[in-house]
């Protein structure tokens, strides 16, 4: 079912005309209101008036995550604070989060895009949505919440955690749409089984899963174990939150990008050169309608590919492939963004441990686990077990405090972590093998 028939099935020409008009407005606006963009445009010698066609987009400078950090917290806002009705933030890489703002109209646009998203997944008015995305600074919970309400569905704002209670509510409230991360979907099925409940006997018809990378194999497992259709969604708080793109339940083959609101590009992550449809590379987004926090050519670091073949669902929107990885070394652990450099900074700050470490990421009982092996140095070594264990717990606490992610620290012998030529291998991600 297509929520916004007019905009989601526009002929290419009409869509591009809308994109160009909106792009021109956007460029004028950010140049006039955001000092960062004015400076970047000037450095590149490009004026808003130079944007005469969609191809001219490539004349504009990229925006990097570091730019958002440099302008923390509100420096990238294009509207005065009085017009900003909502603030969200994502986990940061240097202790500082990435902050995004929304005007009333942005919230309205977002709700509309999330209604489109849920509708593409097969949800409709009258559905009961069990929303297990986290509520709070994270965009997942509230994004789905507003979208489901806009669609005319009933929302259960259950948020994350307390899985047994969630199972109880599922039994009693008979929700029909599940929204959560793919790993949590599988975790729910396992906990239900422990409670003697076959998840497939519940009333769910569809699960809308995202916020972390997953695979076709996981989709099959979720669909088999939960007895529903599972579709992939994509979004990131900088660009909007969830609601940037979604798979249609009809094809489950690539995520339709809501191009009337976002222009996707695929670039070569090394050269920045735009790549044609069908070539894999880094996803870049330009927001066309956001008021408070517009973005010009934001480099997501997510690797994907764009396809424009017509889809059986009737949408004319371009489709992006499942995220294939990152063009940087960011890890997503239980929904939290983690860079190895952050772990390194925690270890370096301690002074008593060697900066030789390796992160081992795995998935046990459906949940991501992070083990950090650190080579023991004379500074941290002690002849007493309790001292060494105390050091391990201390590092775990430091990491939890800075990154908000729980981990297990394990001291290992010096030189036991493989040194490779050139760039050290800091991460072993066993999830990819699953």
């Amino acid at each position: 079912m297509i929520y916004d028939e007019e905009y989601e099935t526009l002929p290419r020409e009409a869509l591009e005309a809308i994109q160009l008009k909106r792009l021109k407005n956007l460029v004028e606006k950010v140049y006039a209101t955001v000092p960062f963009y004015k400076r970047k445009f000037d450095e590149r010698g490009v004026k808003p008036g130079d944007i005469k066609s969609l191809e001219d987009l490539s004349k504009l400078p990229f925006t990097m995550k570091q730019d958002l950090r440099d302008n923390y917290p509100f420096g990238m806002f294009a509207m005065p604070m009085e017009s900003v009705v909502r603030i969200h933030a994502s986990s940061g890489t240097t202790g500082k989060p990435t902050v995004v703002g929304y005007t009333r109209r942005d919230i309205d646009t977002w709700a509309c895009l999330m209604a489109r998203t849920l509708s593409a997944a097969g949800a409709h008015k009258g559905d009961i949505v069990h929303n297990a995305y986290g509520y709070g600074l994270f965009t997942g919970g509230l994004g789905f919440h507003y979208g489901a309400e806009r669609l005319g569905a009933s929302v259960i704002p259950v948020s994350g955690g307390n899985t047994k209670r969630q199972i109880l509510l599922m039994r009693d409230f008979a929700p029909t749409v599940l929204t959560c991360t793919p790993s949590y979907a599988l975790h729910l099925a396992d906990v239900a089984a422990e409670e003697g409940l076959d998840f497939r006997t519940l009333s769910f018809r569809v699960a809308v899963c995202g916020a972390e990378p997953w695979t076709e194999n996981m989709r099959k497992e979720i669909e088999n174990k939960l007895g529903l259709d599972a579709v992939d969604i994509y979004g990131l708080s900088e660009v909007m939150g969830p609601g940037v793109s979604v798979e249609c339940v009809e094809a489950k083959n690539g995520l339709h990008v809501f191009e009337d609101h976002f222009i996707p590009e695929i670039i070569n992550p090394d050269t920045g050169e735009p790549l044609p449809y069908g070539k894999p590379g880094e996803l870049v987004f330009t927001t066309l309608t956001k008021e408070a926090f517009p973005l010009i050519r934001y480099r997501t670091r997510d690797l994907s590919v764009l396809h424009h073949e017509p889809c059986r669902c009737g949408r004319t929107l371009v489709r992006m492939g499942r995220i294939q990885g990152r063009s940087d070394d960011m890890l997503i652990i239980r929904g939290v963004n983690v860079f190895p450099s952050q772990i390194e900074s925690v270890l370096m700050a301690r002074k008593d441990v060697a900066p030789h470490y390796v992160l081992i990421v795995d998935r046990k009982d459906r949940m991501d686990t992070l083990e950090i092996q650190v080579e023991v140095s004379e500074g941290v070594f002690s002849d007493e077990v309790k001292d060494l264990q105390h050091s391990e717990r201390q590092i775990e606490k430091d990491i939890k405090d800075l990154l908000g992610v729980s981990c297990k620290v394990r001291l290992v012998e010096p030189k036991s972590i493989k040194r490779s030529e050139g760039k050290a291998q800091r991460v072993i991600d066993n999830r990819k093998k699953q």
Binding site: V376, S377, F381, D383, R410, V412, E413
Partner: protein
């Protein structure tokens, strides 16, 4: 009256202990006493050896993390009540034993007990005041 003990960090995996003994053997170092503390992930090997300098250098060369700690060596008669008497003395004055290990040189003769204290000064004074035979380093390394 202190004895120097060396300690070595070992990962809990096959062959690591053998590697330590191989390194010490190659360096011509004799082990006088040892104890191994273990957890699920790692172990700490504590050794009293014939030559600390030589042992430490060889082990570091072999890539091990080596620490040095002062411990107290006490000689007690190898008969019932020997250890109990010492622990009583310490307990009465609230001196905590972090860990300890013992070895007997010849059955029926004296036993040597190695103690690790937080407050080593007080412990040595107490033991000597109570006529416990505290051994000095040189004696222990040569045992």
């Amino acid at each position: 009256m202190r004895v120097e003990q060396i300690s070595i960090f070992l990962e809990n995996k096959a062959g690591r202990l053998a590697e330590v003994t191989r390194v010490l053997s190659a360096a011509g170092v004799n082990i006088r006493a040892l104890s191994l503390a273990d957890t699920s992930d790692f172990g700490i090997l504590r050794l009293i050896v014939s030559d600390n300098e030589k042992a430490t250098a060889a082990l570091k060369e072999g890539g091990f993390t080596v620490g040095k700690t002062d411990v107290v060596a006490v000689e007690v008669a190898d008969k019932p009540g020997g250890l109990s008497r010492i622990l009583d003395i310490l307990n009465k004055k609230n001196v905590n034993v972090e860990y300890m290990y013992a070895f007997v040189q010849h059955s029926g003769k004296d036993a040597v007990i190695i103690f690790r204290f937080d407050d080593i000064e007080t412990a040595i004074r107490l033991l000597q005041e109570n006529d416990v035979k505290v051994l000095d380093g040189k004696t222990v390394y040569r045992l």
